[in-house]
């Protein structure tokens, strides 16, 4: 009974995995053909301080903020784009300059910045991210943490050329 159940589960898992791979293969080129720009989120620009410096790490670290930056339309990854990140953390409120920092995307359009643990503030635990460098339309994001205890968060930008 348990053997049969296990077997069935394995078959289902393998089938599911194949389906996901198949669908991803089919849908990726189609999606990339007309990738829409990411709209700014309401409240995303709250407590923004322009010009935070590019840093290795904000404060003592421990929390990983990561994501990707791509071009609207063809979805091409954008290298060297400056993303500013700020949040209410264990080391300061989101109004404090020390809670702000910026990072640059790598050759694959991926950014990753270590920062102090985000704590819930004004209702829910959230981070702020901004693209505001002029080459593309400005985008402010304000994603929520899946849980106040989460130690990482992802946010993705699709930018529209000005």
């Amino acid at each position: 009974m348990s053997q049969a159940g296990l077997e069935r589960r394995r078959v289902l898992a393998a089938g599911g995995a194949l389906t996901i791979v198949g669908l991803a293969g089919l849908s990726l080129p189609a999606r990339a053909a007309a990738l829409a720009a990411t709209p700014s989120m309401r409240g995303g620009s709250n407590n923004y301080i322009p010009g935070a410096p590019v840093v290795e790490k904000i404060g003592g670290g421990g929390f990983w903020m990561s994501g990707t930056v791509r071009r609207a339309g063809d979805g091409a990854p954008l290298a060297g784009q400056r993303i500013q990140i700020w949040a209410h953390t264990t080391e300061g409120s989101e109004r404090d300059m020390r809670s702000h920092g910026a990072t640059l995307t790598d050759a694959n359009g991926v950014f990753r910045l270590e920062m102090p643990q985000i704590v819930p503030a004004l209702g829910q635990a959230h981070a702020h991210l901004a693209y505001d460098s002029g080459e593309f339309d400005t985008v402010f994001l304000r994603p929520l943490l899946p849980s106040p205890k989460a130690t990482s968060l992802e946010a993705h930008f699709v930018l529209q050329a000005v």
């Binding site: 989120m41 409240g43 407590n47 209410h88 704590v119 503030a121 004004l122 209702g123 304000r142």
Partner: protein, 200 residues
């Protein structure tokens, strides 16, 4: 025997109000908040703690409480509730002006703030109406006060429940449920009495 019962009831009322405050005071999140933010948060919790008391006081339900004293306490607690909401919003404004401006202009991305802002305006309107109470007919006063109170209690409870903050979750849910149950009991009590009078 009667005094033991009275003691137990008053103790239960006291605990229902004080326990959520004590549990919130032991929250780990407080370590990462400015004093003004902490005061603002606790003013909000205090406001929530006052709401289940109001129907009890105005109907003088707890043992030993007479109607005139109950009414006076209800009015005092109502004033304290308005003051707590003012401190709550003002403190949050100092903590993060753009977030509070977004909330007040109803353009905040977080639904909890919409419930909170609704409850805030309802409590302010109830306070202003209370000032003009003598100019209103008893029926108009009762209907408007109950309608506003319903918005205050439901809005305040949903606002609190949606927040990830310093309140301990179980005590928060219990306090919100208590506030809603007490408000309902306060609303239907006169109807029940009237029904009993007419059937006799």
């Amino acid at each position: 025997m009667a005094s033991a019962r009275a003691f137990l009831i008053w103790t239960a009322i006291g605990l229902a109000v004080v326990l959520p405050l004590i549990l919130a005071a032991s929250s780990e999140y407080l370590a990462w908040r400015d004093p003004i933010y902490v005061v603002a948060g606790f003013a909000g919790i205090l406001a929530l703690c006052i709401t289940p008391l109001q129907p009890l006081l105005v109907r003088a339900w707890p043992p030993g409480l007479r109607l005139p004293a109950g009414r006076r306490l209800h009015r005092a607690m109502g004033t304290l509730l308005v003051a707590a909401v003012v401190v709550h919003v003002a403190g949050l404004w100092v903590t993060s002006p753009p977030d509070v401006i977004d909330a007040l202009l109803l353009r905040s991305p977080t639904p909890f703030s919409l419930w909170g802002v609704s409850a805030m305006w309802a409590v302010f309107t109830a306070a202003i109406l209370a000032g003009f109470r003598r100019r209103l007919s008893p029926k108009a006063w009762r209907i408007s006060h109950m309608g506003l109170v319903a918005i205050v209690v439901v809005g305040g409870a949903v606002h609190a429940l949606l927040i990830e903050g310093t309140m301990e979750p179980v005590s928060k849910i219990a306090l919100c449920a208590l506030a809603i149950c007490m408000a309902l009991a306060g609303f239907i009590a006169p109807w029940l009495r009237a029904g009993r009078r007419t059937t006799k």
